[in-house]
């Protein structure tokens, strides 16, 4: 087997050196009856060529985003990632290294984590950030738990503009932990009275912007209201690219900013791996979940970096830890950091403008299609349209025509009476041809 260096001769010599008769002598603690006497019922080893054939066949049964006019968003976005990013993250020294527990030979990882933390803090307009969560949704769950620790309260209020999957993750976790959650109904037009739901029991209020329907939200008043009641504002984003163009939550009074970083540096990957971004105020760092990288010096006085404040973490603090997270999104952080470094704020801002321009152009085109109504006033690169037919049917019909038109709200929130709504995203990848194909398709099926 190509991955196994030992030959049978080696095995024999090694068993002799160990002083046992055969390999199963080393498995003596396994109850005899439970020790399998041969391989399980799965196929035998395959050559690289055969594996490629099998997996390529499966891959071929999926429609790749890049192969069609593509407008699907709702929490994951198709952007162009420079070839440099994928090249660097595949370097052996990054790809095959572990969590940097031995900092003297892991400065590469540690320095990029420090750069990552700084970039995330700058983007979100916050003071500090951690070295990543799994993704935006689990990060939101962690943010709520952190707010509970900070405020010593146990009730979260979730905006009706929060991505339904994110809300479900928080609700699942809260239900299991016995914490309270107030989840507001779907808020298509961004006119909910969230401030009215904040009270003296409230630990935190969780608001997304751009929200799941694409609306941009001014969080200033909500932050003030929350703070007045001793609660924290958790601001969520699912499209980090928006932070290149719109006011960041940190400038609007958010206490914790958490979201999905996939758009920078990372592919769609059918939902994962992604990278959760998590930023907060300096004063809360000891309540943060996840890894933190900090600056220090070595025995020669040279600057270096280490994982720090690990007394918050599970491997030290066990059941008193701030989170159970261990492995997180290291290589996705690296991809994010390299892409962000290539962009710089100059590139990011321009790219965000192109995203917005493409979305505006598309919205105007769709508004001219009979049976389509664009609902949003202010948005970034995604918006909601009301269709004259159930959106799920329309999406399916367009998929058959080779256009992936967006996400039916009914897929995220079935039974909410929003079957005619469609979320449409547009990024820098969309061309005039793509837009024309979507318009033509809609005209056909509506």
């Amino acid at each position: 087997m190509r991955y196994l260096p030992l030959s049978d001769t080696d095995r024999g010599e090694m068993l002799a050196r160990i002083g046992v008769a055969d390999i199963d002598a080393l498995f003596a603690d396994v109850p005899k009856a439970m020790l399998l006497d041969g391989p399980v019922d799965l196929p035998r080893r395959k050559s690289e060529m055969e594996v490629e054939r099998i997996l390529s066949r499966m891959a071929g049964r999926n429609v790749a985003a890049g192969s069609v006019p593509f407008f699907v968003g709702a929490g994951a976005y198709k952007h162009h990632v420079p070839a440099t990013v994928d090249h660097v993250i595949q370097r052996s020294e990054f790809l095959t290294s572990y969590t940097p527990y031995q900092p003297e030979i892991a400065q590469g990882t540690l320095q990029y984590l420090f750069e990552f933390q700084t970039q995330v803090a700058a983007l979100t307009g916050m003071e500090v950030a951690n070295a990543s969560m799994y993704d935006g949704s689990t990060g939101t769950g962690e943010a709520v738990l952190m707010a509970h620790r900070v405020t010593k309260r146990r009730k979260a209020v979730l905006s009706g503009g929060l991505h339904p999957h994110y809300a479900e993750v928080v609700q699942t976790l809260s239900r299991m932990s016995g914490d309270a959650v107030v989840a507001m109904p779907a808020d298509v037009m961004a006119d909910e009275d969230i401030i009215g739901r904040i009270d003296g029991e409230t630990s935190c209020v969780v608001v997304q912007t751009p929200d799941v329907f694409g609306n941009l939200r001014d969080l200033t008043a909500i932050a003030e209201a929350a703070h007045k009641h001793g609660a924290l504002l958790i601001a969520v984003f699912t499209e980090v690219m928006s932070l290149g163009l719109v006011t960041p939550p940190g400038h609007m009074g958010a206490d914790i900013v958490v979201g999905e970083g996939q758009s920078i540096g990372n592919g769609l990957n059918f939902g994962g791996p992604y990278v959760g971004l998590f930023a907060t105020r300096q004063k809360y760092i000891r309540q943060m979940p996840g890894r933190l990288c900090g600056e220090t010096v070595d025995a020669n006085g040279e600057r270096g970096f280490v994982l720090t404040l690990s007394t918050r973490e599970q491997h030290i603090r066990r059941d008193k830890a701030t989170s159970n997270i261990c492995t997180n999104s290291g290589l996705c952080c690296l991809a994010f950091t390299i892409h962000m470094t290539l962009l710089g704020q100059a590139g990011l801002t321009r790219l965000a403008r192109v995203n917005h321009a493409n979305a505006v152009k598309l919205a105007d085109m769709l508004a001219g299609v009979k049976g389509v109504e664009v609902l949003n006033g202010a948005f970034f690169n995604e918006f909601t349209v009301r269709l004259s037919r159930p959106a799920a049917e329309v999406v399916e019909a367009l998929a058959e025509r080779g256009v992936l038109a967006g996400v039916p709200v009914s897929r995220l929130s079935p039974g909410a009476g929003l079957d005619d709504l469609l979320l449409v995203a547009s990024t820098e990848i969309n061309t005039d041809d793509d837009r024309a194909a979507l318009v033509a398709g809609l005209k056909e099926v509506l």
């Binding site: 991955y3 080393l26 429609v63 720090t308 599970q314 830890a321 962000m340 590139g347």
Partner: protein, 494 residues
């Protein structure tokens, strides 16, 4: 050469990404336009490439040399798997595309599930957890849901965790409101069924046990422990971090476990990437299967379906959702590629070789270094303590740092916590005999130097690394978690 921080070499006006400005248009941002510097310098592409390549050169990976981190399973990462994960049909597919356009992705998930269930002897698997600890969480949630379904939610609130467990275990249990109760460690390194029985009661929801355990030993009484749990109405959660020792040799389901997460990045070699991403599917016994979270894949009338909401789940009672989408597809592809490559014969052989390699190291060092539970066969990793370093003035940490100077990544140190000055060595099956021989010879040389009193070699180590020993106390006392611009030099007052 020192590599500066990005922020020290980048410039706000520089970008390494070309894209044309959009044609003039009326923004629709509702007055929410960002103003002011973001604070993100850019680099041109050549500068960025060099910056990150040079950073990488300060790192150590499996490809650089032996990486014997116990419990972490640093085995070879086949590049075939990287290539497969990058096929556009896997890497460039959106989680919310119509299911008619992702049948191959669902097929892959189903096939992965079949492999995992077959290898573990279980009846269900929840794929979506994003890493080992997340899998623990999902597994414990399923247990909690099952207990609640039986109406015992209020009474069964205790979870038994041995002292030797990974920190994630008690952290996970506590996270969802369980009380953690320790099971003491015994002198032989094993959990004894009597101790478990003594702790059992109507309040016990579950035990969380690692097997093979964190001391590198297979728990010989595991079947009895499982039976005792079940008899007492509790569930058996198995931490699968060490499953790689027994893949194809024994099935956890046969041993009586109810839930076990599998670190795809350990057992099935999706790379660790300096701290992730991982993947933590959790396999479930028949008793827990109904409670698996959404989403999951199901065979439907017109192809594979994705069940994303509880009310579409039929007879199942999913306990909820643990992440936004369907989990770590990128890791699923890599893991399946690994499993297809090895096959049932290769996976069994890999486990055997992993165990053989660990025992070969044990045999090579047993006369010099002390083992906390005596010199007996181990599984895929071998545990030493620091008794043998007594009076040398050399600590476990010093010894580990001195290994760096010899060109090796150190083993896991000070874990498990129950062993004083623990050194946990896991070579994995990826090492050749020649590599092990060299490693053993090097460690013997170091051990003899320590015993011979060559203390400087250890306490000052590493001498030959990108950095000397780093001051972790200082980092924690006054945390500097981000770069900030240096204060401008004060102009002299007029």
């Amino acid at each position: 050469q020192v590599e500066p921080l990005l922020f020290e070499i980048g410039r706000y006006e520089t970008t390494g990404v070309d894209i044309d400005e959009p044609e003039a248009f009326a923004p629709r941002l509702g007055g929410m336009e960002r103003t002011g510097e973001i604070g993100l310098p850019g680099l041109s592409e050549p500068e960025a490439m060099r910056h990150y390549v040079r950073l990488s050169q300060k790192n150590y990976g499996i490809d650089s040399g032996l990486f014997p981190l116990g419990s972490c399973t640093m085995k070879h990462n086949p590049r075939l798997n990287e290539r497969m994960a990058r096929l556009p049909g896997f890497g460039d597919v959106h989680p919310l595309q119509p299911v008619s356009t992702v049948q191959g992705a669902l097929e892959l998930m189903q096939e992965l599930a079949r492999y995992l269930m077959t290898l573990t002897g279980t009846q269900a698997v929840a794929l979506s957890p994003k890493a080992g600890a997340h899998g623990e969480l999902a597994g414990m949630m399923a247990i909690k849901a099952a207990i609640e379904a039986k109406g015992e939610g209020a009474s069964r609130r205790t979870v038994l965790v041995p002292d030797s467990a990974h920190g994630t275990n008690p952290a996970t249990a506590a996270l969802i409101g369980f009380q953690v109760k320790a099971v003491p460690a015994r002198e032989d390194g094993w959990v004894h069924v009597e101790d478990v029985k003594a702790a059992l009661g109507p309040d016990v929801a579950a035990i969380m046990l690692t097997n093979p355990n964190t001391c590198g030993l297979f728990e010989p009484q595991i079947v009895e422990i499982a039976r005792a749990l079940h008899d007492a109405g509790g569930y058996f959660y198995c931490d699968g971090a060490n499953f790689n020792a027994i893949v194809g040799k024994a099935r956890p389901g046969d041993l009586g476990i109810d839930a076990m997460h599998i670190n795809l990045h350990k057992t099935f070699s999706t790379p660790h990437g300096g701290g992730g991403p991982g993947a933590g599917p959790v396999v479930l016994s028949e008793r827990l299967a109904p409670f698996a979270p959404v989403p999951f894949v199901r065979q439907g009338a017109s192809g594979l379906e994705l069940v994303e909401h509880a009310d579409e789940a039929g007879e199942a009672q999913p306990f909820g959702r643990v992440t936004a989408f369907h989990g770590q597809m990128g890791m699923y592809v890599r893991a399946l590629s690994y499993m297809l490559s090895h096959g049932s014969d290769g996976m069994r052989r890999a486990s055997e070789d992993a165990v053989l390699n660990a025992n070969y190291i044990r045999a090579g060092l047993a006369d010099l270094m002390s083992q906390p539970f005596g010199d007996k066969p181990c599984m895929h990793e071998v545990l030493f303590d620091d008794t043998w370093l007594k009076d040398t003035g050399v600590t476990t940490l010093d010894f580990a740092k001195a290994m760096i100077d010899e060109g090796y990544h150190p083993m896991t140190v000070y874990f498990p916590l129950v062993v004083h000055g623990a050194m946990l060595i896991e070579p994995t099956e990826s090492e050749s005999k020649a590599s092990l021989d060299l490693f053993i010879a090097t460690l013997r040389d170091l051990a003899m130097a320590a015993k011979a009193g060559d203390r400087d070699r250890f306490v000052g180590a590493p001498y030959h690394a990108p950095r000397r020993r780093l001051d972790e106390t200082r980092a924690a006392r006054s945390p500097v978690l981000r770069w900030t611009p240096p204060a401008p030099v004060q102009e002299a007052a007029e």
